[in-house]
Structures are given as C-alpha cells and as structure tokens.
Subunit: 254 residues, 2 copies
C-alpha cells in the first residue's frame, strides 16, 4: 500500500485524486488546500486540511499547485524524510532540493474539470533524485496508468513546450476554423471528422508523411485565393507564417 | 440504381471508388484517367479508359481531378444531358456551367492512399444548379455516408479555408512538436494521448471553452521561458504570433 497526500485542489489534483481512489493499492491520506470550499469537493470520507504545516504521515507528498507556488509551499513542508514531488511540466526538479528525497510526477494530459479522462492512457513522466524513489514513483504511476517514462528536467521542459504547440496552439487553430465557419453560417461540426482524422493519422504516419494541402504542394494559386478570403489581419499573418514554415519543411519555394 | 463514372485516379477518386463499390445501389460504369498504370489499380472488373471523349452513358460524371484541370476537362465532355459534378473544396460550381446540369460533390476529409477511411463518417458537401439534381446527389451521398450537407460555393470556400487551419496547419504543429522532441531525445509518441484528447475535447466543448495554457492564463513568465528555449527563429515567430492571437481572443494583455 502506498500512502499518498495531495497538496492542491485544482484540475490536476482532482484528476489524480480520482485515479488514486480507483486503486486498492493506494491510500489517500490527506488532501491539502487553502481553499476550504474546494476541499469539500473531495468528499466526507477524505481527510482534508488547509494548514500546510499540519500534515499527516505519508510515503509521498504530491504538490499539484501552480508553478509559482511550488517552491514556496515545498519549503514550508517539514516532512524531510518523505518523498516530495511536484506535477509540473515546466518546473525543474531542483526547486524541491530543500528535501533530501524529491522528484517529479508529471501527467502529460490536458485536464478540465468537466471532461472525464481515461487515466490509464495518460503518460506519466517521472524524475527522482534517488534511484529507490524512482522505483517508488514507477510503482505509483503503474497503478494508475499504462504509460510511464523516465524523463529528466531538460526533456520535460521540451515536452512541455511541445505540448503548447500540439495542444494550446492546435486548439487555437480549431478556434480560428470555427470563427471562419461562423462568418459564412456553416456549422463547425462539419469539420469535426476532419479534425479527428488529422489527429488519428499520426498514430500510424509521421506528421512529415501525413502533411497535405496547398503549402505542401507549393500551390501558390490556392494560397493567394485563401489570403484574399481572410479579412482578419491576424489570421492572414498566421496563414502566411505557417504556410512559409511548411514550405521550409518540404524545401518548396513559392 | 445510380450509374456513376469517375474521372480521375488520385486519392479522392480511389476513396470514392471504394465507397461506391460497397453500395449495391450504385453501379460504377467507368473510371477515366490519363495515367493507364493508375487505372490498373481499379481492378479487372472495372471498365476504364484514358480517352476523355469516349465515355459510356452514366447518370453522374464525377470529376475528381486537381483544381487546375476541372474546367478544361469538363469542357471536353460532350455529355450535355448528364449531371456533371466536381469534388473540389475551392472551385466554384460555376466552372462547370457549360453543362446545363452541374453541381458539386465535395467529401470533406483528408485522404491518403495508405490510410483507410470510414466513408460513412465523411461529411459530403453538396451543391447543384437544379433542384432535382440536388435530390439525386443527396441520394448518392446518403448511400455512402451518414452526413450530407447543402453547401453553396461561398460556404464551401470558407470550409476549405477552415480545413487548411484545422488540418494542414494543425499537422504542421504536430511536426514542430515532433522536431522539439527529437532535439532532446524524447519519443514523440508520449504526446499522442494529448493530441488525441485535444481533438476529442471539441466534440463536447467549443474550442473557446477548451483552451488552456500559458497564453490563455496570461502567464508571461512561462511564455518568456518557452521563447528562450526555442532556437529556431521560425518556431519562435510562430510561438509569438499564436500566443498573441490567443491573448486577443481572451482579451488578455501581457
């Protein structure tokens, strides 16, 4: 049985809590958060506290707080013999170095309160200062997910940056597609199968091989037509820059 | 029984051929293409020709050729009483106006030769000069897909443009993510669940509500860190422009 306490009450904390609760090998000792109202959402059977210096004994303390709070909160913790980890993609493991035993437990997925996530499919990126703590983190990760990876701070930083491209920026392209549809009274849902297929394709093809479209073909006539269609100068600039970047990738000049 | 001839041997022609072949209500009369080698791929039981002026009698002739060839090829056709349609997202229906009966049969999906597509889920965008031809196209579309829409030339143009954003540009963001992973020896497949979830999310949430990340939060510290990490000036420019555009969307200033 692994005894775990969660520090935080946000999206990541909530999804971790659900995932841990579903395993019989994990005991959630405590949920800790400043926001007493948010703590109520963890249910009557959960021990909660808003006092970060009054923590019960656990094997692992998981800091699932905003990047800015990790260092400060971790330095308040007096549990010097326990394993302290954070869940952040962009924060170095070394920010926890006040504690002898420290590491990272970073679930690489987009979490929102309203959407259910199949945690078994969430990749968990692990880092630990000590070898034996990596073994413990792996054990914990494998109880809730089918995918765990040893990832050091530099690698995790590049994953976090890549995630901005494939998640935040991709979603913004969906947003722009949706705006363009709205302009001409076309239901955005017509594009949904294309969006799903675009994502599905890279399960079997590399993005390099999966690319199609006017920029890939060097079809300057269509590109010119599209730029004429675009009224919003920001959309126009994004269209130009991404088309140019695709052409750089495939060595085509217009 | 609807009698159909396909003009073209590329990706769209191939996927239409497969979809039509699977319906007992559709008879494929002929496949027409300049490339005799490509015609062989349609099998021994298919009547094929490379002579565009020697066509057998059909109810509908489907021009699945590159945008640049549609007008020229359609003007060579002497079948003035049949329905002539093209399959292009960006070509006006009027380019077929030499023919009394003309229209558009545009399957909005990304097709590649190696990837199987479930045609039942492909949205078909239909346009027809005459009302009774719209009925015929709807009948044909409903035999192969669960989703058909009446979409005029202007709407189709905006769908085609949106498709470049949600498909070509999105795939290019995957490509950039993959490059960033490669730089730090991280397997790109770690990002695959995130990519799938990003696409899946907009089945239930609008892209506006689904957005997360540093630009959405106005987290300038993370944005500065990311820009420092990016070595490639093109990637840097894309990161800046898309972050700025997200901030415009949510009215945040950095």
């Amino acid at each position: 049985m692994i005894k775990v306490s969660i520090l935080g009450t946000g999206n990541v904390a909530t999804h971790l809590f659900k995932a841990f609760s579903s395993s019989e090998e994990i005991e959630i000792i405590q949920v800790v958060g400043r926001n007493t109202k948010a703590l109520l959402a963890f249910g009557h059977n959960t021990n909660t506290t808003s006092n970060f210096t009054d923590l019960k004994v656990s094997d692992i303390y998981i800091i699932a707080l905003s990047d800015n709070s990790i260092k400060t909160v971790s330095e308040q913790l007096t549990k010097n013999n326990a394993l302290i980890v954070h869940t952040s993609g962009s924060t170095p493991m070394a920010e926890l170095s006040k504690h002898k035993r420290h590491g990272v437990f970073y679930p690489l997925q987009t979490f929102s309160k309203t959407t259910e996530v199949d945690f078994k499919k969430v990749p968990i990126c692990l880092e630990a200062k000590k070898k034996e703590d990596m073994a413990l983190l792996k054990k914990l990760a494998n109880l809730v997910s089918n995918y765990s990876y040893e990832i050091d701070t530099e690698q995790r930083k590049s994953l976090h940056l890549s995630a901005v491209f494939v998640n935040n920026f991709t979603n913004h392209l969906y947003q722009m597609g949706s705006d363009l549809c709205k302009e001409h009274n076309v239901p955005f849902k017509i594009l949904s199968p294309l969006i799903q297929e675009t994502a599905r394709k890279i399960e079997t093809l590399s993005p390099f091989d999966a690319q199609t479209g006017p920029a890939r073909r060097g079809d300057s006539k269509t590109i010119t037509n599209h730029l004429e269609q675009l009224k919003n100068p920001e959309f126009k600039a994004i269209y130009k820059l991404l088309s140019k970047s695709i052409q750089t990738t495939y060595g085509k000049k217009l």
